[in-house]
Each structure stands twice: as C-alpha cells, then as structure tokens.
C-alpha cells in the first residue's frame, strides 16, 4: 500500500515529492522493506498533519506540516545508523559499520573521531594487502628493505632495491597479507563492539 495525496496546486506536488525524495535519500542504505515502511509512516503523518491545518492555502499548510515534522536528514539519521549497524549481521562488513559510524558521527564528535581512526586503520589494512599482492608480481618493488647506509623502505618503491637487504624475503607476501587480514578482522570486531555499546 502507498499514499500520495491529490493536490490542487502543482507546486504542492513538487514540494511533497521533494520531501519524500529527501526521506528516501536519508534512508537509502536500509533494505527495501524498511525504506517502504518508514516512507509510508511519514507520508501518513504528513497527510494528517497537512489535512488538519486550517488555512485555505494548500502550499502553506504543506510547508507548515513539513516544518513541524522536521528535516528528514536530522531526525532519520539515528534510524539509519541503527538499521545499518543491525544489518552488519554475522559478516564483518566495514562498509556498513562505517556508514553506521558516519550517521552517528554527525551529532557526536567522539564518534566522528572514531570514524577517522578506524578509517585510517582500514586504509592501513588495505595498504598491507596491496603490498602483499604486488610483492608476488614485483618482488623488488614491494616489501621491507634495509640499505647499507641504514636507510629503509617499508611498502612500495620505484627506487632500486638491489643493494638493500630484503628483510623478510619470500615470507614478505604472506606476512603482509596476514597482517592485513588480522588488522581487518580486529578493526571490524572492535568497531562492532564499540557501536553496540
């Protein structure tokens, strides 16, 4: 079931559609059933609020009803965060976790800082994974190298590493990949625990 009122003014329809679009956009990360349920409830609310206004001006009544309900980007963000976090399920899905933190962080500096920290952590995990993979195809350009003068490189390099000592040798790739996996899992488990508190 769905409701869309029949307006007399074209601009009223446009205002209504624009508000519903904003609702849809705010909750776009939820599943289809959740989105439809929320939209239907808010449409029902707006319809009643709008219908009870006493002014003869349809546009004015509609805008008043929407102002009373509020900005969907504000009042729906916690629903979006809760639903996204709930949707992480059994799989360690950093995308859902980070989305949940993002929605929460718009009102909380602490969670915003958390988002940045975990973002850096996931990026580090990705870098380790990339080094581990590139090492397979280009061993002289990826890994941990120590030069005779004491200088060292950890990561990817375009410089010559012929004179450098390849610290981990053949173990570089599996080691970096292992670190990437451990880091990824640790971050995901920690983030999920923190956000459930």
């Amino acid at each position: 079931m769905d409701i869309d009122p029949k307006f007399q003014e074209k601009v009223s329809k446009k205002i209504w559609d624009d508000y519903i679009y904003r609702v849809s956009r705010t909750i776009r990360h939820l599943n289809k059933e959740q989105r439809n349920e929320i939209k239907l409830e808010l449409k029902s609310h707006l319809f009643e609020s709008f219908s009870e206004r006493e002014s003869d001006n349809e546009v004015e009544n509609l805008i008043d009803a929407m102002e009373s309900l509020g900005k969907p980007e504000e009042y729906l963000k916690t629903i979006a965060a809760d639903k996204v976090l709930k949707g992480t399920g059994k799989f360690l899905n950093p995308k859902n976790l980070m989305l949940g933190v993002f929605y929460s962080s718009v009102t909380s500096l602490k969670l915003g800082a958390l988002m940045i920290s975990f973002g850096i952590g996931y990026l580090t995990s990705l870098i380790f994974a990339l080094i581990g993979i590139i090492r397979i195809f280009s061993p002289e350009h990826a890994g941990f190298f120590i030069y005779p003068n004491g200088g060292y490189i950890i990561g990817l390099t375009g410089a010559s590493t012929l004179a450098a000592r390849d610290v981990f040798g053949a173990w570089t790739s599996p080691l970096f990949l292992l670190v990437a996996i451990i880091l990824y899992i640790s971050l995901s488990v920690s983030l999920k625990r923190i956000l459930k508190q």
């Binding site: 409701i3 929320i38 009643e48 009042y75 916690t78 809760d82 709930k86």
Partner: protein, 109 residues
C-alpha cells in the same frame, strides 16, 4: 550555560519514558501519539524525533506495531506497549521516583 539547550537534553532523555507511559494508557499511531504527549505534558516534542525513539523501543521489544487501513485509504501504524515494555516501565517508574526524591532533597538543603 545555555539553559534552553540543557532543558532540551533533559526532555530528550525522558521522552522514551513518556512514550511508554502514554502507550500504557492506550494504543496510538505516531501523529496521534505526539499530539497526546503535547496535551498531557508540557513537552514541546519535535514531531520527527518521535520516530527514531519508537523504532528503538520496538527494536528492544518494549512496544509493538500494526498497520491499520482506513476508509480514507491512509494507513496508520499503531503502537502499543508489550509485556516486556510494561515491566521495563515499572522499573523506569521506580528509578524516576528515586531520582526525583534525591533531587528534591538536594534542592531543599
């Protein structure tokens, strides 16, 4: 200190308690619930904020909901308190009375 901001935070904090108290009396749909809360309390509730709270209460099994379609064709989502919600409300009542009593003592001293 911005007293309006403090007051707003206090109101937000008690709103879940208020919702359960009102739903204990009768089942309501969202728009009706907001109006009832405004009638029964001095809380100037921002309409949109009620929905995340209802969502959270439902997620925690304190309330349940059902859709009812009317002749007008506009469906309404009615909420009512569950057995779990009644039990939690009882505990909230006790906590509230305890807190109120402590604050009253502080104010008198």
């Amino acid at each position: 200190m911005d007293i309006d901001k403090w007051e707003s935070q206090v109101r937000k904090g008690v709103l879940e308690f208020v919702i359960l108290l009102v739903l204990q009396r009768n089942e309501y749909y969202g728009y009706e619930l907001i109006k009832r809360i405004k009638e029964l309390t001095s809380l100037d509730v921002s309409e949109g904020t009620i929905y995340p709270l209802l969502n959270r209460l439902k997620k925690n099994d304190l309330i349940s909901s059902k859709w009812v379609e009317f002749e007008t064709g506009v469906p309404r989502k009615y909420y009512n308190i569950t057995e779990v919600g009644i039990e939690v409300l009882r505990k909230m009542n006790d906590s509230w009375l305890g807190l109120n009593s402590s604050i009253q003592k502080l104010m008198v001293e």
